[in-house]
């Protein structure tokens, strides 16, 4: 025992281990920093999970266009705990995105970005940008059919930057076509470059928390005055401050455990997205879909006015970035309590409703043609006097691609209107006009249907149809 104590004493004297925790113990924070202050450390914990599971994955993953897909299958199906590690990395990313969103919303609602913490916000916006890029490049490293086409999709989006768009797009892909270099670039970004940047900025972000102090819980009518704030804050700490360790940080630690348990449950029960077809650009029967955190963007691409969209693709992120960076400079002092800043509440609700509804539509993705739609069977139409024609019409409906976008009964796609009861809405002539000329989101079939075929199709659509 004595020896152990002596060793401990020596280690602390020479190794200064106690001094590492000492700043936490002596660091004072304002009273009332409770459960609303756990979100940032939740993000930090998810990042830690990502680093650890990421390193674990990198021991098994082959960052090569030829071997990545096979190594992923090895990780998923053969490696000990491989599927769990992939799942944890996947859900750790989701957790990081979600908690980052909550953390940001919390900081915004409580106006913690106001004097003197503007740089905490600015560095946070950089962290947001890099985290989103990490999520995107991570989706790519899942080098299946989805990964390959996601790379091209990413390049296309950058192509909308005026003048230099092509250069940026080809720089992103590492050449004008896909090749042996493509995957490694994303690997280097996702595994070295971006995590390095993240770590550095996270370090700075936390350094600022200690230097400028945790923002005190806002109180109605207590205004931030840049001239006197620092003096007032120091006085507050001296009078009522509590040590960060253990009075405050215990909540972060408890929350860490909760987050970990949730992530583990999701990793085991849901796991990571399944691998799709092999990464072969000549396989065209793929349906690239983004991970859930990009579904809202996916919905915008599919539903936006197509004349505005190329501009939106460039100006959207630009304006979004400018707005985010300018937030701390638009209101430097004054009220911090959300009740006194109703527009802040409105802004947060607007963002949540917008992203939420777009994500919801993106999950359904009604614009995707239902290539595997089960054919409508002949029996669905009531026997009519022109039964033969109706049958031909059903056949055409199934083979001409109508069913990809239109529903009859329970079968068919969602892009266009449900045609189960179309005979009650449209006359035969109206149907002919629509089918022949098409519409904004429907091809004109005038060139590919003979007039006889058109008659057959119309006789089916105009007949009373019954679900069976």
């Amino acid at each position: 025992m004595k020896i152990l104590r002596r060793i401990g004493k020596w280690l602390n004297d020479r190794g200064k281990f106690a001094d590492i925790v000492k700043p936490l113990k002596t660091h004072l924070v304002p009273p009332g920093t409770k459960w609303n202050y756990i979100w940032g450390s939740g993000v930090l914990f998810c990042f830690t999970v990502q680093v650890i599971t990421g390193i674990a994955l990198s021991f098994m993953y082959q960052p090569s266009v030829n071997a990545a897909y096979e190594s992923l299958q090895h990780i998923e199906n053969e490696a000990f705990l491989g599927s769990f590690i992939r799942g944890l990395h996947n859900w750790g990313a989701s957790g990081m995105v979600v908690l980052l969103g909550v953390h940001m919303a919390r900081v915004y609602l409580n106006a913690a970005y106001k004097y003197p913490r503007e740089m905490s916000w600015i560095s946070g916006v950089f962290l947001l940008g890099i985290t989103v890029t990490m999520a995107f490049t991570g989706q790519l490293l899942r080098w299946d059919g989805n990964g390959v086409w996601t790379a091209i999709l990413g390049a296309e989006q950058m192509g909308r930057i005026p003048v230099i768009g092509d250069y940026i797009a080809y720089f992103f892909l590492g050449g004008k076509t896909m090749g042996g270099q493509t995957l490694n670039r994303f690997f280097s970004m996702h595994v070295f470059l971006l995590p390095g940047l993240l770590s550095a900025i996270i370090g700075y972000h936390i350094f600022l928390v200690f230097k400028n102090g945790i923002s005190e819980p806002p109180k109605q009518g207590r205004l931030v005055n840049p001239e006197t704030y620092r003096k007032w804050y120091d006085k507050l700490l001296k009078k009522k401050g509590v040590p960060f360790f253990p009075d405050v940080i215990w909540r972060d630690v408890v929350f860490t455990l909760v987050v970990l348990l949730i992530l583990i449950a999701l990793a085991f029960l849901v796991g990571a997205p399944k691998l799709t077809k092999p990464p072969d650009p000549t396989i065209l029967e793929v349906e690239p879909k983004p991970d859930w955190y990009f579904k809202w963007l996916y919905a915008i691409f599919a539903t936006m006015n197509r004349k505005l969209e190329p501009y939106f693709l460039f100006f959207g992120p630009l304006i979004g970035g400018i707005v985010l960076f300018s937030i701390p400079f638009l209101s430097k002092g004054g009220e911090r309590h959300p009740i006194k800043r109703p527009w802040a509440i409105a802004g947060i609700i607007f963002v949540i409703v917008t992203l939420g509804s777009l994500t919801y539509i993106g999950m359904i993705a009604p614009w995707v043609p239902e290539f595997d739609a089960e054919p409508v069977s002949a029996y669905i139409a009531l026997p009519a006097e022109n039964e033969k024609q109706v049958k031909k019409g059903v056949e055409l409906f199934n083979t001409m691609g109508c069913i990809y976008c239109h529903k009859i009964g329970k079968k068919g796609g969602l892009r266009g209107p449900d045609l189960t009861k179309v005979e009650k809405r449209l006359t035969k002539d109206q149907m002919i006009i629509r089918i022949t000329n098409g519409a904004e989101n429907m091809p004109a079939y005038g060139g590919s249907l003979s007039s006889e075929e058109l008659d057959d199709l119309i006789s089916f659509l105009a007949a009373g149809k019954q679900q069976k």
């Binding site: 266009v65 086409w149 076509t177 042996g180 793929v286 290539f371 001409m400 989101n441 429907m442």
Partner: protein
Amino acid sequence: MSCNCNSGKKEQQSRRSFLSKLIYSIMGIVTVILAIPFITAMLEPFLRQKKPVWRRVAEANDFKIGETKKVTFKNSTLYKWSSDISKTAAYVRRDNDNEFIAFSVNCSHLGCPVRWEDKPQLFFCPCHGGAFYRDGSRAAGPPNRGLYKYPIRIKNGSVELETQAIPITNITV
């Protein structure tokens, strides 16, 4: 012995300001030197562009008039180890005896692979609902222009395509 304290201080000050400048300059030089390999490595494949090459993709007789088929060929790839990923597909359509036309498989909206459906004579995009007619022109959905085309020629009865960059749609489409 006279104390020249004042001039000593001044000397020390100018010495310190010189040393500071020295530190910053050396650090700047080191940064620039180390940045060079960092940047050139990232730019390497980007700057080493290969010229487009003609690739034989099919025999002219494989196509009936009015037929559209998928062909596959190898890109003008930069690296030997590219293997399968440097393979590309295109759609070739025979309009009449001597006229062939080749479409990029990349949707002109955001680059997803369009599928040819023979019955309705349409290209469908699986991503955001774009569709194109058999001549490559826009039929429906978000694309603002038709499908991109490859240069194509018939040589000794073979259909040849000239490899192209992945088409990038710009803001001013």
